[in-house]
């Protein structure tokens, strides 16, 4: 029975997911010294017509953000986050990331860079990237005789 097969890697993954749940939303991505933390964290998903990319950029205004799509499938995101400048006072905690960031991503398919749209709401950036016509799935109709 295929469903009863022992899959050791799946077990490990499940354990890791459990650890992620316990230790935080980024799992070992940030805590491990080997994995360089990529900022900003991103989620990418798709439907038949579009790729959707979401990035969390709290405290970044639309004016502090540059988005480029080059070569049809290279996406780059640049910007900076500043801590408020206050002349006096002492910091008890500084957990939030600051400074300039830039992240480059190779998209899994070509997109129509002319029609990419971006929305920024409550510190969450959502990009809608329409897929190029040649990579969209096409339904083939089977003619009945």
């Amino acid at each position: 029975m295929a469903s009863m097969r022992w899959e050791p890697l799946a077990e490990v993954n499940r354990l890791r997911n459990e650890m992620d749940r316990v230790f935080g939303r980024y799992g070992d991505r940030r805590s491990s010294p080997l994995a360089a933390p990529a900022y900003p964290p991103m989620n990418l998903w798709e439907d038949d017509d579009n790729l959707f990319l979401e990035a969390e950029l709290p405290g970044v205004g639309p004016e502090d953000l540059e988005i480029y799509v080059t070569g049809g499938n290279q996406l780059s995101l640049k910007g900076q986050r500043k801590r408020p400048e206050t002349p006096q006072g002492t910091w008890h905690r500084q957990e939030r990331e600051e400074g300039s960031y830039s992240r480059m991503l190779e998209l899994p398919c070509r997109v129509d860079s002319e029609h990419v749209s971006a929305e920024f709401r409550h510190g969450v950036l959502t990009l809608t990237l329409p897929k190029s016509p040649e990579v969209k799935p096409r339904r083939i109709t089977v003619k009945a005789e």
């Binding site: 992620d20 790729l51 950029l57 957990e95 510190g123």
Partner: protein
């Protein structure tokens, strides 16, 4: 404070069951202390000003941000973070002027001002010359 009390009572009468269960995450915070009070900055992307609940009781500041589920039933190509509510509490040792606590939310960053009560502020002692 009155609004918080009312909301708590309403919530107690009619417990609202959520259709989906989401994880709750700990937001990252910066805390700065100045002579006149403490300022907290918290990253809570996806939370609007209307979705935040802040309470201050017995020296404990509790912050809860509600996030509506996004991207349900989609298959991810990359998934680097989870979406869920935010919750964090801080014990505040200083004596705070509760009436003057205020907070604002902008671009997913929560700023909370906790002004120190008059007696807790540092005071410069004048030394008189004879």
């Amino acid at each position: 404070m009155t609004t918080a009390m009312t909301r708590a009572q309403v919530g107690g009468d009619k417990p609202q069951r959520e259709a989906t269960r989401q994880a709750t995450y700990m937001p990252q915070f910066d805390i700065q202390e100045m002579d006149e009070g403490l300022v907290l900055y918290g990253d809570m992307p996806g939370v609007g000003p209307e979705d935040i609940d802040i309470r201050f009781e017995n020296g404990e500041l509790s912050i809860h941000g509600k996030v509506a589920p996004r991207q349900q039933n989609v298959s991810f190509l990359y998934r680097e973070y989870g979406v869920g509510d935010y919750h964090r509490t801080f014990a505040v040792g200083e004596s705070i002027d509760v009436e003057k606590i205020c907070a604002e939310m902008r671009h997913g960053v929560l700023t909370i001002h906790l002004p120190k009560s008059e007696k807790a502020r540092p005071r410069r002692i004048e030394v008189r010359a004879e």
